[in-house]
Every structure is written in structure tokens, then in C-alpha cells.
């Protein structure tokens, strides 16, 4: 049995439009001796959207996921900063509001025979690697050092009290520490924890595009040649919508954007062909 076991919550996007995250997660877990115990019954975290209609509904859905992890005695690990932020917020709400907890538990018990007790923790991959696995272990496992300047993108959802481990909420550095452990040159830039407006991508596109362009151009102006995102949802803005963001804002945003688990998996020697393609893209685009 692996030393580090977690209940694995990939998030909807990881299982749908960002399958490369799932590939990379499985590869890096093998390389670092992490056991990802599937939570096959877990539902969507609500992404902060369902709560705009009914927060208690979103909390109940997440309470069911928490209870499933607790029944296995495991903390929940997710590669998605948005899931981490939203689920941590709901976890805090459940833990601190006894009336709410009782209302939700009453329904959970009758529906699925589970209760939320608050014994588990929500963990993001970034925090698990720095705090549990150790950057020295990660560094020792590197086979393909990332030898270009990388901008790590945290997003804003995870940078809240109770959601970002022991990292600094306002001036985080775990990502930069990890990039350096992977052999890369960490690029520090002001916008690393600013929102790219993903929750409003479909409804307030103009603002979301300008916010996306602002993050990308800031990283680029600080010397980044590639961006790695801790949030698969934000990655959609940073990558697929990159051209549009550049056109709407009129700024230079052309830069490869990949996922945090991909960066780690490449450095640990997985998917060498993909890594080779990425290196080519960096040479072509990342200037």
C-alpha cells in the first residue's frame, strides 16, 4: 500500500474536456507513490455556480462527497483549484454552522445513510506535494528537468483562508517552489492569484477575456515562456480562449498554457512525446 493515500476527486472538467489532466495525474501518482482512491459516487462540486441558485443545495452535494471520503478515512485530493476553493468554503460552512450541518445530515442519512462529521480535509495537489510528499522527494524523482521560465497560475478561488494549506493567501509561493524543484525557472508575477473570470466566461465574456489577457500578458512581460495552471477551469480561458483574449484586449498574450499535473508528469518522465511537442510549442510561441 502506498504511503500517501487520498480519496481522489478529479472534478468534472478533468473527466470531460481536460482528459490530459487525468492522464497526468495517474502518471505522477505512480511516480511519487501516491495512491488515488477513486470516489466514483462523488458529484460535481457546484463550482460556485449552483450556490447562485441555492447554496444549501450545493453544500448538501459536497457534504455527500465529504462523507464518502470520511467513510474511507481519507482526505480528499483534487487537481482542480476551483473544486478546492469551493469545496473548502462549503466544508468551512458546514463545520462552523451547527444548524446547517444538522439539517444537511438529516437528509444525507435518509438518502444515503451517511453523515458529515468534519474529520477529513480538502487538499489540492499543489499543497499535497509541498506539505505531504516533500519537494525534495519530487526533485529527486525528476527525469526531464523543465528548463524554461514557467509562470504558475493559482487562480483566485483557492487563495482563501482554509483552502490553500499553509501557503500565503495573498502572496503564495508553493507553485514557484515546486517549479524550481522540477528544474524550472519560476517566474513571479503580480497576477498569479487574480481571477481570469471563468465563472462568467459564458455570460460576461468581455470582462473575462480582458481578465484572462491581463494575467497572460503580465506573466509574459515578466519573462514567462509557458504558463502552468493549477485550475483546469481557468485553463480553458488561458488556453482555448487565448487568441480571443488577445484580440479583445489588444495585448500580447501568445504563450503555451498547460496544466500543473502535466508539468509535473513531464518532468517526472511521463509522456515524452507530448513533452517534446510542448518544447517545440514553447520555442515557437513562448517568446
Amino acid at each position: 500500500m502506498a504511503k500517501n493515500r487520498y480519496a481522489y476527486f478529479p472534478g468534472c472538467v478533468t473527466l470531460n474536456s481536460a482528459r490530459e489532466v487525468q492522464d497526468a495525474m495517474l502518471a505522477l501518482a505512480r511516480a511519487l507513490d501516491i495512491e488515488l482512491v477513486p470516489l466514483n459516487g462523488a458529484s460535481c462540486c457546484g463550482a460556485g455556480v449552483i450556490k447562485q441558485a441555492n447554496w444549501e443545495l450545493q453544500i448538501a452535494l459536497n457534504a455527500r462527497t465529504f462523507a464518502q471520503a470520511e467513510s474511507q478515512g481519507l482526505d480528499v485530493l483534487t487537481p482542480c483549484a476551483s473544486c478546492q476553493g469551493n469545496m473548502s468554503e462549503d466544508f468551512t460552512k458546514l463545520s462552523t454552522d451547527a444548524d446547517l450541518r444538522e439539517r444537511v445530515n438529516e437528509q444525507l442519512e435518509s438518502i444515503c445513510g451517511l453523515r458529515f462529521e468534519g474529520t477529513m480535509k480538502m487538499r489540492h495537489l499543489l499543497h499535497v506535494l509541498v506539505e505531504d510528499i516533500g519537494l525534495d522527494v519530487v526533485s529527486a524523482a525528476v527525469k526531464n528537468p523543465i528548463d524554461f521560465p514557467v509562470a504558475g497560475y493559482y487562480g483566485s478561488v483557492m487563495q482563501q483562508d482554509g483552502a490553500c494549506g499553509d501557503d500565503d493567501i495573498y502572496d503564495p509561493h508553493y507553485f514557484e517552489d515546486l517549479i524550481e524543484a522540477l528544474g524550472g525557472q519560476a517566474v513571479n508575477y503580480d497576477s498569479k492569484a487574480k481571477s481570469v473570470g471563468f465563472p462568467s466566461l459564458l455570460s460576461e465574456e468581455s470582462s473575462a477575456m480582458k481578465m484572462t489577457a491581463s494575467v497572460l500578458s503580465d506573466a509574459k512581460s515578466e519573462g514567462a515562456r509557458i504558463m502552468a495552471s493549477a485550475c483546469p477551469l481557468s485553463h480553458i480561458n488561458l488556453d482555448s480562449y487565448q487568441v480571443k483574449a488577445g484580440r479583445v484586449s489588444g495585448s500580447d498574450v501568445d504563450m503555451p498554457a498547460i496544466h500543473l499535473p502535466e508539468l509535473i508528469a513531464f518532468a517526472l518522465g511521463a509522456y515524452n512525446d507530448r513533452y517534446a511537442q510542448l518544447r517545440t510549442r514553447v520555442l515557437v510561441m513562448g517568446n
Binding site: C44, A47, I50, N54, K194, E204, A208, L278
Partner: protein, 648 residues
């Protein structure tokens, strides 16, 4: 007994020790200690600091000196000497060198005009104590301008008393819907009755306190300002109308008004040329006095920190910007604002930032990525330690245009606030009979909800917390919405008022324009009330719209797809939210070509890109699944939806 003069210097902490030692001489009041009238030859009853009246004979000098030596803050000053002799100090303990150091001599012109009547009446109309506090401060500072202040509540004077003064300062708050505070009502009624005195030849100035949330902002002060003018008094400095964050404005008014009052000579003539000299004298005087004041923050020697301070600089004339780096050693207890003052005083006098008291919301800046009030945050709380060094990066507050260095232009926020008009529009309501009379009451839950919704440290900070604000200048911003939402939920608000507030909240530039509420939550627990208000406002907006439009459809279909399979289906969500036209528009905007060219997949299976050729994708870039597989025990998810919200 030789002539004995006893007075109380600034800094009394009203501990009662002197009164217990010798009540015949010392009488402790609410904010200082007075020398009793019975013990003084002039029969006055004040600190005796101004007049230095000698004590009557027969009093126990030893008890007086015991009281002085027992004073924990050494503010009891005792002079013992023969009448006509130069006084010799007999204080229990010498005052500190700083306190004893004389204030620089004022210019001769100033000194020459300090003869004759120097009296100043400071009147306060106060309901919650704020006006009273400013009046007390005026009383303390008056001495610096060689004025002899009498500080009174408005219920402590008769209207006829005003005629005895040629200098009058008025500080008055406004209560309810433009009403006088309780202690000012009688005086106001008397002022407007027949027989009110003429005050021609006198000089006045008014500081008015209020709340811009109310329709009749600062009305009481406005009324007094008009009345003094009507009865012939000369408005020596313009009235100032202060909002709830009144400190900075009131301080500025106070120093200006006192300097002008000080420039009125004993004959009642105003000598404008003296104002600058008096201000200069006050600047020196307050500096010296502060050094030994018992109310000073103790000079705590915190652990010294070596800080690399990186401070943003911007020169609007050349358009150049960047960061200056200063390496300095300061105690960790020093605030960020004090560090900036230190850098300005010792390193670069051109460094520009908004200075003010610790709670002044206009001083807000960003320090190590965190938006703060710099007077409230110690260096030790915010520096980042790495490789044995502490770093502190100071930037202007985000979301506002920079004027110079750290000074930003807040006008965007104020324009939105003025247009949104979050003033109180109250409805007529029944009062409740209580022992004090009939008053309006509110149940505790409603009161707490309103306070919670608007309980955030600074509107400027809340405005800046949104990552959307810099990219959408039409958006009114979270601070304005939070204030409107609090008004909307206030049971005192009229229906017309509620309709107005809601119209702004639900407009295209209202809550819908906020692209990501999480950036507001990031600012910490102190903002949770505001964050909850914004979420509630968004929820009501979507419900009132019937979940139509892109915002409503996005939330509706997101929830629907989660109910259907337990997971979000991006294809359905994008298709339903954008519609065929939006999908087509997105497909030719660069999103689809980028996906088709394989740039987005980092070498992933091309089949998923090619799928896009067969069926137009969800326009969110990569080719997601068309149909989700359900999570295990999906019926439980459906049951939770049915239990908590049957709309889906």
C-alpha cells in the same frame, strides 16, 4: 505658605488617584482633572493650565506634592514660590526632556496679537459621542493657538450665552432624518425663537457630521451654519460636511479653524497674515507635545527586522514607473504607514502616498499582494521571509488609476456611489412605546443582518478587492452593491426606495457585471458579510429574471446537468447558454481553430480534436463529451436535488 500654583498638563488618564489623595484641590472629571474652584484664588474651575492661578493659603502643600508624586502619568505640575518671585519647579518628577522642550517661539507678530480676550467657545451637538470627542480635541489643541477654550455641550449653554464670545466653533452631528441630536434640540428651538441674540462682531465655523447614506446629509450642521450667518456672525472658515469616516476631514477642519480663530485679536479683528504663522507654530507645538504625551502609543521596542522595502514609483510627467528598493532596519511593531513616513522623511521626500490616521480608508494600499489600511498593519504581520531576509512590496491599491507613486484616484468609486444614491429613503412606520417615549425599533435579527451586510473595513478596499473592477469601469463595484443591498433589506426603507436600489443592483452594470465573486472572498473573513450580500443579490437577480438571459441560463443549465448525471456537462451548458448564434460566433473567433490545430491538447489524442469536425463543439475550446456517464448511486444526487430545490 509661599504662593503655590498647581495645574494639570495634557495627558491625564483620570485614574482618580489625586482626588483620593486630596479632594479639596483635585476633582477628576470625565476626561481630565480640574483644580477645584474653592482652592483657587480666582475661583475658576478647570485644569488651571491656562491661567495658572495660585492656590488659596491654608492648603496642605505636602498632600499636594504627594498627589503629584503619586500621579502615574506625571501631569500634576506644582510651582512653589513667593509672590512675584520667578517660579521654581517642584514637580514630583521632572517632565521628560521632550515634553519640557519649549515649543519654538512663534513669530513676533503672532505673539504681539495674543493680548486681550482669547476666549473660544467650542459647542458640540452630539448623539453618539463623535461630535463631543472632536470638541474635546478642539479644547485640548486650543492652547497651541493661544486660545482659552471653553468646551460645552449644546445642552449646557443658553442661547444668550453665545453673545459673550467672539470666537465660536460648532461641531454638530445629524440624527435620523436631518434632525438635531438630543442635546441640541432645546438650543436650536431657542435660537429660532423670538429674542435670539445678534452675534455681529463674532466669528464662527461649523463642522458637521453625518452619513451620506441618509437623504438629509449633515442637515443639522447646515442649519447651524445658516443660523450663525443669519444672526450676523462671520463665517471664518467654510463649513465642512463629514461622512462616517470623519477623522481626516474633521482634523483638517480643526487645525484650519483654530488657526483662523487664533488670528482673531482681542478686539475681534481677524488678521489673516497671522494664520500661516499660527499653523507653523501648531505644527511645531503638536510635534513637541506629542513626544511626552501620556496618550502617546508607548515606544515599544519590537524586535528589529531587516526589511527590503520595494515601493512602487510612478512619475506622471515622464510616464516612468518601477520600484525603488530600500533596505532598512525597523522594529516589527512599526506600521506600514509609519514605514512609508520614515522613508519619505529620511530617504526620498518626493515619495507620494495618502497619509492619514490608522482608520482612514483613503490611505489603503497593497502590501505583498494584500489590500490593507497601512496604519492598521504592522510590518511583522506582513513581511515575507525568504533566505533569511524579509521583503515587503508596496504597491498602489488595485482597481484605481494611479496619480503618483502610491496615491490613487478614488473618483471612479465616488462617481458610482453618487449615481447609485444609496441614501436612506425611509417609509412611515409605527413607533414602539418604550420607557423613554415612542421610538422606532427593529428586531434584533434584522438589525444584525443589516450591520453584517455593511460591516467591512473600507469601501475603497472592498471596491479594490474585485478582480473585475479594473477591466470593466462601467461596473458599479462590490462596495456600492453591498451598500445598496443593505439598504434594500432595511425594514425602514420605503417601497420606492427599495425599487430604486434593486434597479441599480440588477442592472447590467450591477451584480451581473461581477465576473468572479471569489476575488472578493479572498480578502478574508472580515469581508464575508459583504461577500454574502453580493451572493444574495446575485441570487435574487437571477430568480427575478426567471433564470433567463445568459446569466440565468448559465446557472440553470449548470444545475440541471449536474442533476441529470451527477456531473457538469459542458456541451449542454455552453449550447444552452450561448445559443446557436453564440456558438457559431465563438466557433469563428479563434477558439475553434485553436482547438482544431491541436494547440490546446499538448499532444493528446487527436481523435478528440477531430471530433469537433463531426459535431460543432461546446465552444469552450476542447471537445468535451456530448453525453455524461452518471456517477455511482446517481439516484442519491437526484434525491438531494429533490429535497433541497425542486425547481431543477
Amino acid at each position: 505658605m509661599s504662593e503655590v500654583v498647581v495645574w494639570i498638563a495634557d495627558g491625564c488618564i483620570t485614574c482618580d488617584a489625586c482626588e483620593e489623595e486630596y479632594p479639596e484641590v483635585f476633582k477628576v472629571t470625565d476626561d481630565t482633572c480640574y483644580i477645584t474652584a474653592d482652592s483657587r484664588t480666582d475661583g475658576g474651575f478647570d485644569t488651571n493650565e491656562g491661567t495658572k492661578s495660585s492656590l488659596k493659603s491654608g492648603l496642605d502643600l505636602e498632600a499636594i506634592q504627594d498627589a503629584a508624586s503619586g500621579c502615574p502619568v506625571d501631569v500634576i505640575m506644582v510651582e512653589v514660590g513667593s509672590s512675584g518671585d520667578s517660579a521654581s519647579e517642584a514637580t514630583a518628577e521632572e517632565p521628560t526632556a521632550e515634553a519640557a522642550e519649549p515649543v519654538e517661539a512663534a513669530p513676533a507678530a503672532v505673539e504681539a496679537s495674543m493680548d486681550g480676550d482669547r476666549s473660544l467657545l467650542v459647542l458640540s451637538g452630539s448623539q453618539s459621542g463623535n461630535s463631543e470627542a472632536i470638541a474635546a480635541k478642539a479644547g485640548k489643541l486650543a492652547d497651541i493657538y493661544s486660545l482659552e477654550a471653553t468646551v460645552k455641550g449644546m445642552d449646557e449653554v443658553q442661547i444668550g450665552d453665545l453673545a459673550a464670545y467672539q470666537r465660536i466653533l460648532v461641531i454638530c452631528s445629524t440624527w435620523g432624518e436631518g434632525e438635531m441630536p438630543d442635546n441640541a434640540e432645546d438650543l436650536w428651538n431657542a435660537a429660532n425663537a423670538d429674542g435670539a441674540p445678534s452675534l455681529s462682531g463674532s466669528h464662527f465655523s461649523v463642522c458637521s457630521l453625518g452619513d451620506t447614506s441618509y437623504e438629509f446629509f449633515c442637515q443639522s450642521g447646515i442649519d447651524w451654519d445658516g443660523w450663525f450667518e443669519k444672526v450676523g456672525s462671520n463665517r471664518i472658515t467654510p463649513r465642512v460636511d463629514c461622512d462616517v469616516d470623519y477623522d481626516a476631514m474633521a482634523d483638517a477642519w480643526l487645525s484650519d479653524a483654530l488657526a483662523h480663530m487664533g488670528a482673531v485679536d482681542g478686539e475681534g479683528n481677524f488678521n489673516e497674515e497671522m494664520v500661516a504663522s499660527l499653523k507653523e507654530k501648531a505644527a511645531g507645538g503638536s510635534k513637541k507635545a506629542a513626544a511626552g504625551s501620556a496618550f502617546d502609543i508607548p515606544d515599544l521596542v519590537g524586535q528589529e527586522i531587516q526589511v527590503n522595502a520595494r515601493v512602487y514609483r510612478y512619475d506622471p510627467e515622464s510616464g516612468q514607473s518601477g520600484h525603488d528598493v530600500w533596505r532598512c532596519a525597523v522594529p516589527g511593531s512599526v506600521s506600514v504607514l509609519e514605514l512609508l513616513r520614515l522613508l519619505k522623511a529620511t530617504e526620498d521626500g518626493s515619495l507620494t502616498f495618502r497619509d492619514g490616521n490608522a482608520d482612514d480608508p483613503t490611505t489603503a494600499i497593497s502590501a505583498n499582494g494584500r489590500n490593507i489600511l497601512p496604519g492598521r498593519v504592522a510590518i511583522s504581520e506582513i513581511v515575507r521571509d525568504k533566505d533569511g531576509e524579509s521583503s515587503l512590496r508596496i504597491d498602489p491599491l488595485s482597481g484605481f488609476d494611479v496619480i503618483r507613486d502610491l496615491a490613487v484616484d478614488h473618483s471612479d468609486y465616488h462617481i458610482h456611489l453618487a449615481n447609485a444614491k444609496p441614501w436612506m429613503h425611509a417609509s412611515t412606520r409605527e413607533g414602539t412605546k418604550v420607557s423613554q417615549g415612542i421610538i422606532g425599533t427593529m428586531d434584533a435579527f434584522a438589525a444584525e443582518t443589516i450591520h453584517h451586510a455593511s460591516d467591512f473595513p473600507s469601501c475603497q478596499l472592498l471596491h479594490a478587492s474585485s478582480d473585475t473592477v479594473p477591466h470593466n469601469r462601467s461596473y458599479v463595484g462590490p462596495a456600492v452593491i453591498a451598500r445598496l443591498w443593505a439598504r434594500f433589506n432595511d425594514p425602514r426603507t420605503s417601497q420606492k426606495g427599495k425599487d430604486g436600489y434593486l434597479a441599480t443592483i440588477q442592472s447590467e452594470n450591477g451584480i451581473k457585471a461581477e465576473a468572479d465573486l471569489s476575488s472578493v472572498y479572498k480578502s478574508g473573513r472580515a469581508w464575508n458579510g459583504a461577500g454574502a450580500s453580493l451572493l444574495e443579490a446575485k441570487r435574487k437577480t437571477l430568480q427575478d429574471d426567471g433564470f433567463t438571459g445568459r446569466h440565468g441560463k448559465h446557472v440553470w443549465w449548470f444545475s440541471e446537468t449536474v442533476k441529470l448525471s451527477g456531473r457538469l456537462n459542458e456541451t449542454v451548458l455552453a449550447g444552452a447558454t450561448l445559443g446557436p448564434f453564440g456558438m457559431a460566433k465563438n466557433a469563428i473567433s479563434g477558439v475553434l481553430p485553436r482547438m482544431l490545430l491541436g494547440f490546446t491538447r499538448t499532444g493528446g489524442p487527436m481523435i478528440r480534436d477531430l471530433q469537433a469536425l463531426a459535431a460543432p463543439p461546446a465552444s469552450v475550446g476542447k471537445m468535451p463529451k456530448m453525453i455524461n456517464s452518471s456517477v455511482d448511486d446517481h439516484h442519491e444526487v437526484v434525491a438531494i436535488f429533490n429535497k433541497f430545490d425542486r425547481r431543477f
